[in-house]
């Protein structure tokens, strides 16, 4: 499974980790809804580290689409909230 960490690159993550990733993702959504900033930051780091530690970085000249894109490593809770409403982080 190809996973992108924005501003860092793409990782090849073994499929076995998809459940773990989904689990953290669900908790992250919860933290955003509760506006629990410490929990949000902790979970975001957990999610990024899961991919960084268990995946292998793709060679830079490889051109493939990701199956998943993680949030930016420096995303704030407020930005994450905005991602769920309106047009998101990238207005046209």
């Amino acid at each position: 499974m190809i996973v992108r960490i924005p501003s860092e690159g793409q990782y090849n993550l073994p499929g076995a980790f998809i459940d773990d990733l989904n689990d953290v993702d669900n908790k992250l959504v919860e933290a955003v809804e509760l506006e629990d900033e410490p929990q949000f930051e902790k979970l975001l780091k957990e999610m990024l580290d899961l991919v960084r530690n268990n995946g292998t970085l793709l060679p830079v000249d490889e051109l493939v689409e990701s199956d998943l894109v993680l949030p930016e490593p420096d995303i704030t809770l407020i930005e994450a909230e905005e991602m769920f409403v309106g047009e998101g982080l990238l207005p046209d």
Binding site: S7, L63, V64, E65
Partner: protein, 243 residues
Amino acid sequence: MGVLSRMSTIVKSKMNRLLDSAENPNEQLDYAYDEQRKMLQNVKRGIVEMVTAKRRLQLQAEKVKTNIATVDNQARQALAAGREDLARMALQRKQAAMIELDGLDAQITQLEGEQEKLTQSEQRLAQKVEAFKSKKEIIKAQYSAAQAQVRIGSALNGLSEEMGDVQLSVERAEAKTETMRAKAGAIDELADLGVLDDVSGTSSDPLSKELAELTASQNVEDELAALRAGLPPADDKRALPGG
């Protein structure tokens, strides 16, 4: 919808228009390549903007440092003249200026981080663009239009995503710089309007005036003392009066 799927959609949708805009695969390939080159220019411009903004903040920090030295000196002179009230006010200004300096330093560090990140993005994209260029020529030379359509799909999607990522970084960096610029501009404007005290002491408020007068009279006293001691008023302090 989870953060992951939402984020994936955002980054991927950024460049999807690219795929629809050209008629045949060869055209699509060339068009995509042109777009990537433009994107690289975009990133380079973003980096230049970042450097300019940083330079501006550095100049502002220099100015504040000079002001700190000035009010510090004023405080000493005020105290020497027995004006503790004035010295206290000067030190209050010094404190305010030091808080401002801390803020500026933090912003400069943040901009340096953004600049570093963008530079890395630029290098990564440049390598991707080169990889795409060779792939494009191979596909053009070896495959019929229908075959090429299949071959380029994946590479083009991968590249579009990379560009979406870089575009996101540039936009975020620019938004951060814009916020800092607005903040710095607001401080300048308030100082111009006299809402904030100009810590350099050049404004015409009573404290600055008094401190300036004190400094001036202190300078006069110093020179007088120097004259009395038979010294030239210049700062040639080695020429101590002979006994």
